[in-house]
């Protein structure tokens, strides 16, 4: 079996999950973990028998690595991604990929010129429920889709300090709705507010207008005392709902309500497995750098809309 030599940059909450999952993939040789906080890197490295670094540049120079996954803070994602690409590594960078559209564009250029795989960590794309929703819509089960409503709310995860709820949280649903509708939104209208966070918006309502009279409404916040992550797509013939957490899909038609039964599968495992597979077999990742760039662009337009109090047209 061909195996891929992988390292993880960032050993925080999410980076550890990457390490855990990568360590179990049969075609991965997990080599090293890197974190600016040396103590964190050492701890994780010790548990999984990896090399430990507090400087990714040093890691790239000393270790033989094919690909990295980047799980650092939002404000450092672009910098680390560029570094990895410049060292010739294939990259899966966590969302939101970069702090600004401009940075994201730079990343895309480098990846393209270096001919490296670049994917963005929109993990919900690998939620089996999303696949089922997409297929049900494609197969015509709900008739003409009219509106997608997404709610993604939770208590504020204190660990996130350098980005607001739109670029951190709503961005998942922005990507998913683009994916499900198979189109890009043409305008956005949004409102944001801040109740507990010191610097960034901690709740947002976003309305996206799509071609062919489709629309989406997104509610995201860090206020709600427990996690809800749901998607409802209203069609002319039926309604399909997804609980992202339980992965349960429900289709309501005039005649009946159906809930298919499926085993829960870990989306991160599917995501990382797919990325590894793309690199090893030279396939295009399902989530491209362009997807990351577009979601970021829509997020920025939403923030601009909220600041100006008017709808913003989006051009790609």
């Amino acid at each position: 079996m061909k195996t891929l030599k992988v390292a993880v940059v960032g050993a925080g909450f999410w980076g550890r999950n990457h390490v855990r999952v990568l360590s179990e993939l049969p075609n991965v040789n997990l080599v090293a973990v890197c974190d600016v906080d040396r103590w964190k890197a050492d701890e994780v490295a010790g548990k999984y028998g990896l090399k430990s670094y507090d400087n990714s540049r040093e890691m790239y120079e000393k270790e033989e690595i094919d690909a990295v996954t980047i799980c650092v803070w939002s404000s450092k994602l672009a910098e680390e991604t560029q570094k990895a690409l410049k060292y010739g590594k294939h990259v899966l960078v966590e969302k939101p990929m970069a702090h600004t559209v401009r940075e994201a564009q730079k990343i895309l250029k480098i990846a393209e010129s270096e001919n490296l795989k670049l994917s963005v960590g929109f993990i919900e794309r690998f939620n089996p429920g999303v696949k089922r929703v997409k297929e049900a819509i494609q197969d015509g089960f709900i008739g003409i889709p009219v509106l997608a409503t997404a709610r993604r709310v939770s208590r504020w995860p204190q660990r996130i300090g350098d980005v607001g709820v739109i670029k951190d949280t709503a961005i998942h649903d922005i990507d998913i709705i683009r994916f499900i509708f198979g189109e890009d939104p043409i305008s956005v209208y949004a409102r944001v507010g801040r109740l507990q966070h010191e610097r960034f918006e901690d709740y947002a309502q976003i309305m996206l207008t799509f071609p062919h009279d489709k629309a989406a409404f997104l509610e995201a916040n860090w206020l709600t005392p427990y996690k809800i992550r749901r998607l409802i797509v209203t069609g002319s013939e039926a309604i399909i709902s997804l609980d992202y957490i339980t992965q349960e899909v429900t289709i309501e038609t005039p005649k009946q309500t159906i809930t298919p039964r499926h085993e829960w599968e870990e989306p991160l495992k599917i995501e990382l497995s797919h990325f590894v597979d793309c690199v090893l077999n030279n396939r295009e990742p399902m989530v491209s750098g362009i997807d990351g760039l577009k979601a970021l662009k829509i997020s920025e337009a939403a923030l601009k809309s909220a600041a100006k109090g008017c709808a913003i047209k989006i051009k790609f």
Copy 2:
């Protein structure tokens, strides 16, 4: 017991419900029913032992009537309401009360100058579940309210031909959200579409901005193959949901989910009973003409927003 002499104008689907409920109220003497379609009026009058008219003017001149409820088509509501007021009758007019804000204003003036009770048929105000939601919010159960989301969807009721889904359907939730938040929205952004209806929008998405960083999102359509009527209010401490149809309220807190148990009560009975009581005892109806006017104004602003593709400020 003091009794009120009442007539019903309009013997269609909803007017018949008025007749059925009024005929059972102990302090009502239901006198007559009127419909331009003589046959309809006769049929209802026969079943309940009432006088039958096909001309309300004639009815007002021949019968001794204190108050009327007006259940004619949307486009005729204002005309019939003005007529009734001019004949000195207290009026409960079905929503949307009038076809335009201008007409509604005229109605309010007449009612005021004639010193007559005027109420608008926002029946959901009398849904016991709405009262429970309002109380829970007032009592601080959900902390600071942030967003109200309302879905009111159903197959197109073919009987409605002279008004779109905003003024016919979404207007219920526009009124309820004003009531629950205890404030008027300051701006509206909306999108509408038409899939099956020949003249009017049959689906709409409306986003309302309220003072103090509250917002509301309304989904209304005549496409969905079965009835859903739901309200969710997200607060900083809890989420409260209402199924308007079952009247079931659910409060989700970090610690638990609670669903109080209550007997279902017919909102129309509570509404008409309240109106009769207000006339008999000279009290102000819970739903005033002003409420009707404001909901209509917001509906018109939503339609204007959809036409222009931008947010519209609302001033009262």
Copy 3:
């Protein structure tokens, strides 16, 4: 249209429901109502424009009546049924039909010799959900049925004073399970208890053994603070559940959970309509006197089992 001249014997809670429903059936000429409590009979008669009696014998002699429905107390059902049959009336008698198997047998004989229709008020047979469960099982949707579990619990209805929870309440499920399995039980094992009722058992657990290795478990009580009425049938391939109250049926298969959507229909209306139809068109009622007799026999065997602490064989 042929119409049937009907009277109702018993103007209590349930008799009034009979009157309300019969008064709306197009092929019924509801003539009179009778109750030993004259005041009750008069009140109902006044509301629906009927003749009022406090003595059924007198009613049968003075009025022209084809059929009666009998809604008196359990301890008086047999007596009133015999009287009606002797006067040549077709009878729908409320469950449990008689106080003892012996009385029930006598009733059956009279009905047969007089060639009169006799049906017993097992209203759940006319619950549309029961029909759907029966059809699903017949169509093989659940594979081989193994166990039916019925729960029928509620707060003690104070109006019931002359019979325990088995003959009043569990008897519904005894009949339904016979109907659904299409067979009679061969033995019964039961336990009963009394927490609040002064004379009769107010909770019971009954286990029925059927041929071909099928079994049923019934829980019935008057203790539970609110109404639950549910049936679950476990099969070798799927599970089918019914909420008798909402009439919602759910089928759980290895692949999915399906809940068909149906309008709620009033079982009493279907039941009385069916009975009237059987008399008018000389058809056999779906629920026969034999069904009443068998349910009573099983109930008595359950009480005997509980008293003796052992399983009792049932022979028909």
Copy 4:
């Protein structure tokens, strides 16, 4: 920190779970794994860095071990438990502990005379939901408990070949209901059947009678195409339900339905952690050998009842 030297006997499906969980407990030094199938033992040992044996006697002689958990086939449990006890090891033996009551008694005697801890793997005792049900009942939330209904159904787990559904599956609920009621049943009535299994019953319905008019009904099978594991306790004031799988508890009172929110916790981790703690600190295990013996005795009485077709009294 004191640590306990532990070995696992049996490296099948469930033994591997023991190894996984024990390897993560901080106060455990997991030494070895043993399976008659050498290949299985080696595989697990390799993954977790343990010693591997195919003969437990050899393991006890060569390794320094304080305690073992025994996860072999039901028919071998008693033999392996006796061996371990004779070698002076504390033992947690998987249910049903032994194949017969007689064997179980022998085990208890040895454990007592050797002064060793003995516990039985009734894992549901460590389901946090069970604790909540027990506490709610003790705190009087449901009034007087009247009936416990347990359903534990699933597709036949092919790996189980040496015991029927009562001793393998229903035994969990037998133990739980004893625990929740705080009493032993005084009689049992049961029915069993066999649809797919070659030797043993694959479905069973069991009715247990407890003192003070409490009863329990248990449904267990290996026919139902997917897993359901539920417990409902009906009380005079409320009903409490548990989904063993999601650990969700629901309390239905006349006023409301409450579902407390809790994080899911792995029962096996709590169970093994408790056992280790009991050995290290010389405390009595929550599930004693007596509990195992009693559950087995009730299981045997159920099988006897089914064979004889009558209720069987149980004496301890």
